[in-house]
Every structure is written in C-alpha cells, then in structure tokens.
C-alpha cells in the first residue's frame, strides 16, 4: 500500500479502514498538505532531519502516573523516557500541551510525581484534565494545580505566534449511556471566545476525549462536539488534538484535522479489536513502540499543521 493510500485510509471512519490505519500508526509519520489531501512524506528520522521553521509545540497525553498493572508496571519510567525524547528534539518546542489523564487516581503523590518528571522538560505546559484527574473528593487537586485562571471546569484559551489555542474540558458531568460532554456553559464561552477572531486565524483545539466519534460503544467521542465544530466551521485551519484512546489516529474533515496522541503509559486496543478498551498487555519489547509523544509544527502560510508522532522506541 502506498503512503498516499494509507493517508486515504486514515480519512475513512469505518472499522476496517480504522484498523488498517492502526497497523501503521505510531511509526512516526510527518504529515503535510498536497492539493488539499494530507499526505505522509517520510518517516520520523527524515522528518526530523528537515528542521522545521515556525511555531513548534509538543503534545503528551495519558501519563497515568500511579498505574502499576501488567500493561506497564513502570509508567514513571516511560514518562521519564518521553521527557528524555522531548529534551533530545532537534528543535526545542515553544511549549507543551498535556491532553489529560496526568494521574491514574488523582492522588496528591501522583500529581507530585507527574510534575517532578514533566517539569524536567523545562517547557511551559498547558493542561486539560482527563477523567482520571478529577477523582478526588471535592475535585480540587487538578483545579488548584493547573486550573487557576481557567473558566468553569478548567477551559481557557491563549495565543502563540498568531495561532489561537483553546483548551476544552469534556470529562465532567457525563451522563449515563453517553460519551464525553462539553456542556452549554462551555459552548457559550467558546462562541464568545471565537466571535471576534478573523477566519484566517489558525485554531488549535485540545481536549482529553476525542472531539470526533471514534467508537461510540466504548464512549470514544464527545456528544456535543458537533456544536463546537459548527462554531469552528468558518475558520480556514483548525487542528483538534486529543488523547484518551492511547493510540494514534487521524482524520481530516474539510478544514479540520483531528489527531489523537499516544499515551506515555500503556496502549489500548484498536476500536472493536478487544472485548473492552482496557489497558492492552503487549510483549515487553513492543511496549515502547506503542507509547510516545507528538510534535506539532505550524508554518505560516500553510493551512495544515505538521504533526509528527514519535514512539519511545522504533
């Protein structure tokens, strides 16, 4: 299968195509734009060799500090390796985003360990919470550490190099039988946040649970994400970065590129490939090929951001 066909396969959402996509995801692919179609142009090493200019930032996700089960008894170790990868990048990112599930059980010691390791990257970090970060009684720990100055359950926006970044929260007030939820209050805030911005402003939205329907029977989607995407329709370049599903997936729909990052802790199965979305135990020598970090570069004048997934190994 050519790289072009693989890119085409990644655009579909049916299960066969998603699974096909899964067989090559995670090997580190540079995405660029050619004639409106995203196209992978090289593997990781080649991509790194071509030093990007413009704004580069880094995404990590799902570090699950505190997890100690068979799928990875040493999530501290793999998070440290991920930070090592970040420090070794040829182009230092301007900052980092963390798309949630910093901890496994929202314990103070887990937040402390995560902070201690992630701070070694020496980058500003913009967080959004995952459902594992709001388990403490009173739900205060995440807000106190990362949510100061944020609205509601922790949503906010900021600007860097002419790109508008929006951190959304879709892990609170979930309803029985449903998926992720943004809620009326946050959507009203988003409408207000976007209303005076020109359609040429590149937008990056990040949230924990995917803002596109990946696999509803596992809850991998956000019920009211369509309302958020409606608000983003008029913008020429929208990039949506998520975590939660512990695997790389990408989809392009009009001007919107959706991308989910690897976990630094443990992999989860491809949609429908297992009885449940629980942690996936793989051979020890394969684990680090399924964990990783995501490097994102925005070049002025290009609609699509170049997204490079870098596994911890391979």
């Amino acid at each position: 299968m050519s790289e072009f066909d693989r890119a085409e396969a990644a655009r579909g959402v049916n299960r066969r195509k998603v699974l096909e996509c899964m067989t090559w995801a995670g090997t580190g692919v540079l995405w660029t734009i050619a004639g409106g179609v995203p196209r992978s142009v090289g593997i990781m090493d080649q991509a790194l060799a071509a030093e990007p200019s413009g704004l580069t930032f880094l995404q990590i996700s799902d570090s699950h500090v505190g997890f100690d089960k068979a799928a990875n008894p040493n999530v501290i170790g793999t998070l440290e390796e991920a930070v090592g990868k970040i420090k070794a990048l040829p182009v230092k990112p301007a900052f980092m985003i963390h798309t949630g599930d910093i901890t496994h059980l929202s314990k103070p010691a887990e937040f402390d360990d995560a902070d201690r390791i992630i701070s070694q990257a020496r980058l500003d970090v913009h967080y959004v919470p995952g459902e594992h970060d709001i388990l403490d009684e009173g739900v205060t720990l995440y807000r106190e550490r990362y949510g100061r100055g944020a609205k509601g359950a922790g949503w906010y926006s900021f600007d860097a190099n002419g790109v508008h970044f929006i951190g959304l929260v879709n892990v609170v007030n979930l309803k029985a039988g449903g998926q992720g939820v943004l809620g009326d209050e946050q959507l009203a805030w988003l409408a207000d946040d976007l209303k005076d911005r020109s359609a040429s402003t590149p937008i990056v939205v990040f949230a924990h649970i995917p803002l596109w329907v990946v696999y509803p029977s596992w809850g991998w989607g956000t019920e009211d994400s369509g309302r958020a995407l409606d608000l983003l329709k008029r913008f020429g370049s929208v990039t949506v970065l998520n975590g939660h599903i512990h695997q790389v997936m990408q989809k392009v729909e009009g001007n919107v590129t959706f991308h989910t990052a690897s976990s630094t802790a443990f992999p989860q199965p491809a949609p429908g490939a297992a009885p449940s979305p629980g942690p996936m135990k793989v051979a020890d020598d394969k684990l680090r090929t399924l964990l990783g970090i995501t490097d994102v570069t925005f070049k002025p004048g290009q609609e699509r951001l170049a997204i490079i997934d870098q596994p911890l190994k391979g």
Partner: protein, 118 residues
C-alpha cells in the same frame, strides 16, 4: 429495625417468626462484578433490604453512580468494593461516571413478594 428489636419480637409472638424470615431473606447480599468495562450481571433483581456489593476486577478505576443521584461511589481501583443497601422498592439505573457507556440496573422488589413493574 435493630437486630435486638427483631429478637425481641421473635420472643414475643410466633407471628414474628414469619416476619423474621422475610427480613432475613430481604437482608441477603448480591454481588455485581465489574470486568471488561461491563457490570455483570447487568440487571439484578433483589428484595428490599438487600445489600448489593460491586467489585472492580478491571485494571482501570470505575465508579457506581445512580442516574437519579441516589447513590454514588468513589472511584474504585482494582479489587476495591462499594456496597449500597436498597431499602425502597423501585428500579435503580446506574452507570460509571468515568465511562458512561457502562450502565446497569438494580430492580428492588417489596419484601412481601409483590413484584415491581419492570
């Protein structure tokens, strides 16, 4: 009614024997396992007074949250348990507030044996 109270009744009148039997049956315990992001059994029918205990056998934390906000557990890590005693007949829907696609139902029937509409 306290345990001492039941004993007192039993000593007082033979009719109380039937009451005690009913209360004992109602005070049974039922277990619901959480595994593979599923509550098993997904639907459980018990008599009023039954204590239902959920046990998380997954590698991921889950919660037990009543859809009507009548009960809610803390996050249960692997092997953690949560128990709730259902004293009032009715149909209780619940879900995992972390993974809301996980849902279950507890049907509580009156001790007298009259069944609740399902």
């Amino acid at each position: 009614m306290t345990r001492t109270g039941i004993r007192g009744l039993l000593a007082a009148t033979p009719a109380a024997v039937a009451i005690l039997a009913a209360v004992s049956a109602g005070a049974a315990e039922r277990e619901v396992k959480i595994d593979n992001f599923t509550f098993t059994p997904e639907r459980v029918t018990v008599r009023a007074g039954t204590t239902v205990t959920w046990i998380n056998e997954d590698d991921i934390p889950h919660t037990i949250a009543s859809s009507a906000k009548i009960f809610k557990s803390k996050a249960l890590d692997t092997d953690d348990k949560y128990a709730f005693t259902f004293t009032t007949p009715g149909v209780y829907q619940y879900f995992c507030s972390l993974h809301p696609h996980m849902t279950g139902t507890i049907v509580v029937e009156a001790v007298t044996g009259s069944s609740v509409a399902q």
